[in-house]
Amino acid sequence: MGVKIFYAFIALIGGIAYGLLLGGISRKITARMQNRRGPTVFQNFIDVWKLFRKKTAISHGVMFYLAPIFRLLGGAGTFLLVPIVVGNFYLSNFSFGGDLIVIMYFMVMGCLGMALGAAESGHPHAPIGVTRGLAQMAGQELPFIISVVVLMIVDKTTSVEGIVMAQQGGILHWHIFTYPFAAIAAFISLLGMMTSYPFEIVMAPQEIAIGPPTEFSSTFLSYMFSGRSVFAVAKYVLFMDLFLGGATNLLWAFLKTFLIFLWPLFITDVFPRFKLEQSVSFFWTWPTLIGLIDLLRIYIVR
């Protein structure tokens, strides 16, 4: 167990670093798409360090103080519960802790903790952002749930390892090819999960400053930044495990997560922002209908 914890810790550091790097890459790619040079790919590291080393910070109360920790815990916990390389002792982390259902609910913890801290700040923008985020979540979860239910039912398992195992035996066994509609639904839902344009509802800088974290500063913000990064990586890894057949070694894992990372990025950079109503309606119509095709398929075939 001690070894496990040690390796998990290493993996966590790696995950955070990878997440920050991906964030930097996304900023760079966005900049290049907008015909400018953009910051270095390590910009996020600099930002995090700067925030981490700020001299002063303010706190609005206990929940506010704990919010970044919740956020980091939610991100890191999710990351550690998802096996990166299935079967590998060092890289499956704590995936014995729970199956896909556990992960899906664990994912909420960080968001909820941060939402509470933001709400305690007493800044009106914070609850506005949070309620938008939660409503958005209700929207994006539906297609995601549909595809996850499809996978769980066809693979007759709820554990991530089981789902990965079911996809072994060649690229065409990946769920993205065997259940393409479910995969499409889930990947559209991923756009919402990453809260990037066109589903940038929570932060919405043009409307409510930056929403929930308005009052967070300095070290608080650096923790949240790290938590957010590693949470993003956790989602990529989860999607890799669910749809791209998992990874057999670390290199594959990097490659596949990078591919998944690119998908929301390219959507983000070319679309304007939805209103919340439009966003939820969108999620509850098109991706849901697409996902339902596969759901109906397994319903009939079964």
Partner: protein
């Protein structure tokens, strides 16, 4: 033994003597009047007691003038006659006493004479053994009644008296005609003689026609629909005291002769006649009263309906083809009905006499300021509507279970009418108890006596009932219930009541500990007891402002729940169920704005209970065990009753307001435990009924959809609630939907999920409601936008609510997640794909309101008016802590709860292999997946602490700032600024899901209510109020009766 002739003769003589005495001394006339009545009362009582005690064994036969029966007139007093006589004189005495206290209408002498004549006539009708003599007494009664009705001397009463006279004459004519024909046909006027002759007599159509003429006359007097317009006018127009005596005594005498004549004349079509006229009158009148605004007329409709039910029962009683045991039960039911109705209705009419206004609106809030009035009113209304433990309830039960299965539709009709009765009576009750009315005249002695008689009768009826139906009521529970009543009667101070209740509950736990075995019954028994104790404990701090009857009613609820959990027979369960429903109705009604909610609650729970009763009636046997039934009707009827308590959509509309407006101290029980007893009932239905029918899987699938849609829609509605308790109410209902879903899956895993969630939902929702009670106590409002920022004032409550919410939302390390995990595992195992998706989505939606609770209550800006709010009082905090510890403990060690559940499930055939086993690293493992609760708890808490320490060490210098130190667009703040965002948090989301939250169900229910009312209004046009039409109806109906029922069909 007192010779009945004495009663009649002395009353008759003194009636005329009073007229003379009146001229000399009004006072002495009055004294004499009462002396005569008391004599009658004592004499009739003595006879009745003689029959009861067995001193008189054979019927008293009085030969007048010494002629033997067939030739001379004679009186015949059997058991029934003696009882009826006693009833008549009791009611008359009560009425007379009331009249005397209020002031006898002028001219006093005439009124007293008529009053005596009325009672004398009624007694004569009862006692006589001769048909012609009967006619004479009917005439005496009627003429006295006309006079008394007119004595109020208002326009309405005079009109009513005139109508009564016209219709009464027609009726008398029919009766006389019948008697004459009878004599012609049989050559005798003596009832017994005729009865003897009829047995050997060829039943020719002509003879049937003759007796029909007689019965047509009687039916007119018995106010059957549609020839009862005059009677309603009498009820409405006459002096209420007179009406009380008329409906309580005179009409009952007519009813007795109706049964007697039915038996003597052996009319072949009597059964159909009574079924059609009795049933029709019953049902139509119950609905006609639906929108009635005039109190007296409403009571009139109710009287007519009750008479209809009596006529119906008479038909069954005299139907020789039924087994004698069921006829015996029906006889008992009739006795109870007559007793119940006479006293309850007289009491109500005497109460009406105390209130000036006729309009129901005028009764607004009348109960609030008049406690004694309230007591009498409640007793009478409860008794008439058949609320346990009053006689009406037992009468209804006896009647229903005595009706053979081939007349099941009659049972349906009776229950339908009963629901309608509850709708209008409790609308009346609601208006009377809503708000603060004025004090009324206090002339309450007679009605009080009547209601006390009713209560005694209820107790007697209960023991009789359990004796006859062979049901063993757990005597310990009865004792506890009586102690609860004693707490009410002795009226201790409220903290003392609280202590007494806790002690009683503790003693109950001690006594019932052996019953908490590892089976379903024991499981729910433990939940009721321990949960009830915790929730009761938390009521202490606010107990001072509670109503006097709070703790007794609370205890009655708890011990009824115990009774339900321990029931081995469906009927036993039903009795406790009703007791629980109605005591909880009283509790809900104690809320300040809860009157309407309580009314709807009463309607729904009684409708549900009657549906359950119909199901129980249709069951082949009453014990709770495997029952082989076919068809989907019985399980649906049964489970509807339980679903109402669980407030499953579309039966949920009572829940929001009943939860929201009921006293804060009671709501935790309502949500935490009472809804769970619905789960218990449903589990029984699933286990013993649905499991055995062929369409079981389809039914289960339907119920699963019902459960999941409830969860979905209630969650959605909770999101948009702005009231703390109503929000929690919707949430509670939604969570119970999950439990129903788990039950409907009916695999070991599904039942595991359902039972786990049952306990867990009690823990977190009990915690939330208890905390809500504390918060509302401190803050003084349950309106969410008026709260905010309370985390600094109530840190412990915040922590408790936070953990409860995490548990509710199903976020891993807390207890709630296990329920979710089990449920989804079961669903995926069962492969109900669409249901799984909706269930997942509903639980995602739950995050929305979870955040809303935490934010609007505890986070955000503190409002100025809550500046001085303190932490919740100690008992509430203690209860919170207990439940909090339970949540965390079960979160870390779910086997604390899962192992007992497994034990329970192992007792159930088909549920043996729970589908879960435990492994060291993987934790709980099902066929599909795994989840290690302890690891998650340790991992979460451990990393949390680690991260916290690291954060505290490395963070920048942190300054704790105050409320308005927020970077709000650089604006310079002002002291009065309210930056709290607490109203309509999800306005944007509501715009998206507008089409989903359209209040369809409540509109449908409202539509049903309104349309029934409108239909009743249309039907009511039948009563034109015109005597010509009434007379025409009478003639027409009589001809129809003669036409259709003649002939020995």
């Amino acid at each position: 033994m007192v010779n009945p002739i004495l009663i009649i003769a002395i009353t008759l003589a003194s009636a005329f003597f009073i007229g003379i005495l009146q001229v000399y001394s009004k006072l002495w006339a009055k004294v004499f009047f009462f002396l005569v009545l008391i004599f009658d009362f004592v004499a009739a009582g003595a006879n009745f007691y003689g029959f009861l005690s067995g001193k008189i064994t054979s019927p008293i036969l009085v030969k007048i003038g010494g002629f033997p029966p067939p030739i001379g007139i004679n009186l015949f007093v059997g058991k029934a006659e003696a009882a009826m006589g006693f009833l008549i004189f009791t009611i008359t005495l009560l009425g007379a006493y009331h009249l005397a206290r209020r002031g006898i209408p002028e001219p006093q002498g005439k009124a007293m004479v008529l009053f005596l004549l009325l009672s004398l006539g009624a007694a004569g009708i009862t006692f006589t053994g001769d048909f012609f003599n009967l006619f004479v007494f009917i005439e005496i009664t009627s003429i006295a009644a006309y006079g008394l009705v007119a004595s109020a001397k208002t326009e309405k009463s005079l009109e009513a008296a005139f109508k009564y006279m016209v219709i009464g004459s027609i009726s008398s004519t029919f009766i006389l005609l019948g008697v004459v024909f009878l004599y012609k046909a049989t050559g005798s006027l003596n009832m017994l003689d005729i009865a003897k002759k009829v047995k050997t007599f060829p039943l020719t159509p002509v003879f049937s026609l003759i007796s029909l003429v007689f019965f047509a006359g009687l039916l007119i007097e018995l106010e059957v629909f549609p020839i009862n317009g005059w009677a309603l006018d009498v009820y409405q127009g006459a002096d209420p005291v007179v009406v009380a005596v008329l409906t309580g005594a005179a009409v009952k005498a007519f009813y007795l002769i109706f049964i007697k004549a039915g038996g003597y004349l052996a009319l072949p079509s009597f059964f159909q006649l009574s079924l059609i006229f009795g049933g029709g009158t019953y049902l139509v009148s119950q609905f006609l009263a639906w929108r009635q605004r005039d109190v007296r007329r409403l009571l009139g409709y109710s009287s007519v309906a009750q008479l209809g039910l009596l006529i119906l029962s008479a038909g069954f009683f005299l139907n020789n083809s039924l087994p004698s045991s069921s006829r015996h039960f029906i006889a008992l039911a009739i006795v109870l009905f007559v007793f119940n109705h006479s006293f309850a209705k007289s009491s109500l009419f005497l109460l009406v006499d105390n209130v000036e206004t006729r309009e129901m609106e005028g009764w607004k809030g009348i109960l609030k300021r008049n406690p004694l009035f309230k007591f009498i009113f409640s007793t009478s209304v409860f008794s008439i509507t058949g609320v346990p433990p009053f006689p009406g309830f037992w009468a209804k039960l006896l009647l229903i279970f005595a009706i053979p299965k081939e007349y099941a539709w009659v049972v349906g009709l009776i229950l339908l009418g009963a629901v309608a009765e509850i709708v209008y009576y409790f609308r009346f009750y609601r208006i009377a108890s809503d708000g603060e009315g004025e004090k009324v005249k206090k002339n309450l002695a007679s009605p009080l006596a009547a209601s006390l008689i009713l209560i005694t009768g209820g107790g007697v009826a209960w023991s009789m009932f359990s004796g006859y139906m062979g049901i063993m009521f757990n005597s310990l529970i009865i004792v506890f219930l009586m102690v609860a009543a004693a707490i009410y009667i002795f009226g201790f101070s409220k903290p003392l009541q609280w202590t007494a209740s806790l002690v009683l509950l503790g003693y109950g736990i001690y006594r019932f500990l052996p019953s908490m075995k590892a089976n379903l019954h024991g499981f729910f028994l433990a939940l009721v007891f321990f949960g009830g104790a915790i929730l009761l404990f938390a009521t202490y701090p606010t107990s001072k402002r509670l109503s006097w009857s709070f703790y007794p009613a609370y205890l009655v609820v708890i011990f009824s729940l115990v009774g339900i959990a321990l029931s081995t027979s469906w009927l036993n369960l039903f009795v406790y169920w009703e007791l629980m429903s109605w005591s909880s109705f009283l509790l809900v009604n104690m809320g300040k704005k809860a009157k309407r909610a309580a009314w709807i609650y009463a309607i729904f729970s009684s409708a549900g209970a009657y549906s359950m009763l119909a199901g129980i009636y249709l069951l082949p046997k009453l014990s709770i065990s495997k029952i082989g039934v076919t068809g989907v009707l019985i399980p649906v009827l049964l489970i509807t009753g339980f679903l109402v308590k669980m407030a499953t959509s579309p039966l949920h509309i009572w829940a929001r307001d009943a939860y929201g407006e009921s006293p804060d101290e009671f709501t935790p029980l309502l949500s935490g435990i009472m809804s769970k007893i619905g789960v218990f009932g449903s589990a029984l239905v699933f286990l013993y009924v649905i499991a055995n029918i062929s369409s079981g899987p389809a039914l289960r699938y339907g119920l699963a959809w019902l459960g999941v849609l409830t969860a979905f829609f209630m969650t959605l509605l909770a999101v948009f609630q702005e009231d703390l308790k109503k929000l929690l109410a919707y949430s509670s209902v939604g969570q119970v939907g999950y439990i129903l879903l788990g039950l409907a899956i009916a695999t070991p895993l599904g039942w595991n999920a359902a039972l786990y969630h049952t306990v867990d939902h009690f823990i977190f929702k009990g915690l939330l409601f208890v905390a809500a009670a504390g918060i509302i106590y401190r803050v003084g409002t349950s309106y969410l936008p008026h709260m905010g920022g309370l985390i600094r004032r109530m840190p412990l409550t915040f922590l408790a609510v936070l953990i409860a919410i995490i548990s509710l939302a199903g976020i891993p390390p807390m207890a709630g997640f296990a329920g979710k995990w089990l449920l989804y595992s079961a669903l995926i195992e069962k492969q109900w794909v669409f249901i799984t998706v909706v269930a997942f989505l509903a639980s995602t939606l739950a995050f929305l309101y979870c955040f809303k609770i935490l934010h609007t209550v505890f986070l955000g800006q503190l409002q100025d008016e809550n500046k001085n709010a303190r932490e919740v009082p100690f008992p509430i905090a203690a209860a919170e802590t207990i439940l909090l510890v339970a949540t965390v403990a079960i979160g870390a060690f779910p086997r604390l709860l899962l192992d007992p559940i497994n034990k329970v499930l192992n007792k159930i055939p088909g549920m043996k292999n729970s589908g879960l086993f435990y492994e060291k690293t993987l934790g709980a493992v099902s066929k599909l997946g795994h989840w290690n609760a302890l690891f998650l708890m340790v991992f979460t808490v451990g990393s949390f602490i680690f991260a916290l320490i690291f954060f505290a060490l490395t963070s920048a210098r942190v300054r704790e700032v105050k409320q308005l130190d927020v970077g709000y667009a650089g604006e310079v703040p002002r002291q009065v600024e309210d930056l709290h965002f607490g109203y309509d948090l999800y306005a944007h989301f509501r715009r998206t899901v507008k089409w989903l939250i359209y209040p369809l169900v409540s509109k449908i229910w409202k539509g049903i209510y309104e349309w029934t009312g409108t239909f009743a209004e249309v039907l009511r046009r039948f009563y034109t109020g015109n005597i010509n039409t009434y007379a025409a109806y009478v003639i027409l109906i009589s001809i129809l009766i003669l036409h259709f029922f003649a002939g020995g069909k």
